[in-house]
Symmetry: C2
Subunit: 194 residues, 2 copies
């Protein structure tokens, strides 16, 4: 997605340790116009899958999921990190390790909001080692729902998550795949595969 790649080139900030900061438009300040372009693109890519729900994980995934859901006319369900006293015990749970926060989280979705009749489109902001996504995939499987596809805004193509998930036969599409990035020069090289 050309608009997104231009935005990453212009406003993304490459930090040591393979960290790409896109705080300016994606995960601290949110450019809602850009989110709408992302939502339209996901609709183009996954519209024929006719999802019944869009699943994501808090926090930045919620912005992408809600704007995207408007193009599909379906509700959003967001997985919660860590146990909350406001959630019933009757939940699907899995554990994931966050690359960003270097922590292990419990990830929870109430059984009320995912069923075997659901056709799920997962969306999220980043894909790196894939831990968060593997957790969400696990939850969709536990619910007996059908996983129709995964839409990612930015994939770090030099990390293993994308390959692992595509090797599972899952229809994973990323709007920008980064082949390499350099914290010293700030340069970001995109793959041609997206």
């Amino acid at each position: 997605m050309k608009l997104l790649k231009e935005r990453i080139r212009r406003e993304g900030n490459v930090k040591p340790g393979n960290v790409l900061k896109v705080d300016m438009f994606l995960n601290h300040q949110i450019d809602v116009e850009l989110m709408n372009e992302i939502g339209k693109e996901f609709k183009r890519l996954f519209g024929d899958k006719k999802p019944t729900k869009i699943l994501t994980i808090e926090a930045s995934g919620i912005a992408i999921a809600c704007i995207t859901a408007q193009y599909f006319n379906v509700p959003v369900v967001f997985a919660k990190k860590a146990q909350s006293i406001n959630l019933d015990g009757d939940s699907y749970t899995t554990k994931i390790e966050s690359f960003t926060h270097k922590k292990v989280y419990d990830v929870i979705v109430s059984k009320k909001y995912l069923s075997r009749d659901d056709r799920i489109l997962i969306v999220d902001d980043f894909l790196a080692n894939g831990c968060a996504l593997l957790g969400l995939i696990d939850i969709v499987k536990s619910a007996g729902a059908s996983l129709e596809g995964i839409g990612i805004v930015i994939e770090k193509g030099f990390q293993s998550g994308g390959k692992a998930i595509r090797d599972m036969g899952i229809d994973l599409k990323s709007l920008a795949i980064i082949e390499s990035m350099n914290a010293e020069t700030g340069e970001v090289v995109f793959s041609d595969e997206d």
Copy 2:
């Protein structure tokens, strides 16, 4: 807001300890159509304030903020809970205590995304004791920005937060104000003031 109150009556779940669960449409599963009606109502209530940014706090606030921002054509900034290695040190921070999670959080907004030129509309899902909002108000003041108003989806009118914030002279509007609720009968009584 009639549509919202009907929804709370029909799908809200009153739990002991003054907990109102609205997981079905607001903070686990999200009804994006309802969010759009909420966004339009905030535009009607605060449109003349001409905010330059909408500020909220992760996680469920992000959904409301992003959909609402579409009616104002402005970006969203969401405050983050707890320190993240992906944030610069150059941030406004404050501490808040969560009623839901019984924890104290650090709340952080990067200085890059709030300035003295900004006119801020704060939106959030719940107002109870007001701790989260007081934290956000504190951050807006630290930035020297102008706080134009606060839009809340559900206010627990029997808790002290609403009065405290209105007494500060802040233009706080809640789309549904709960006067009382009963965990045994499930009954929710709304105030006429909203």
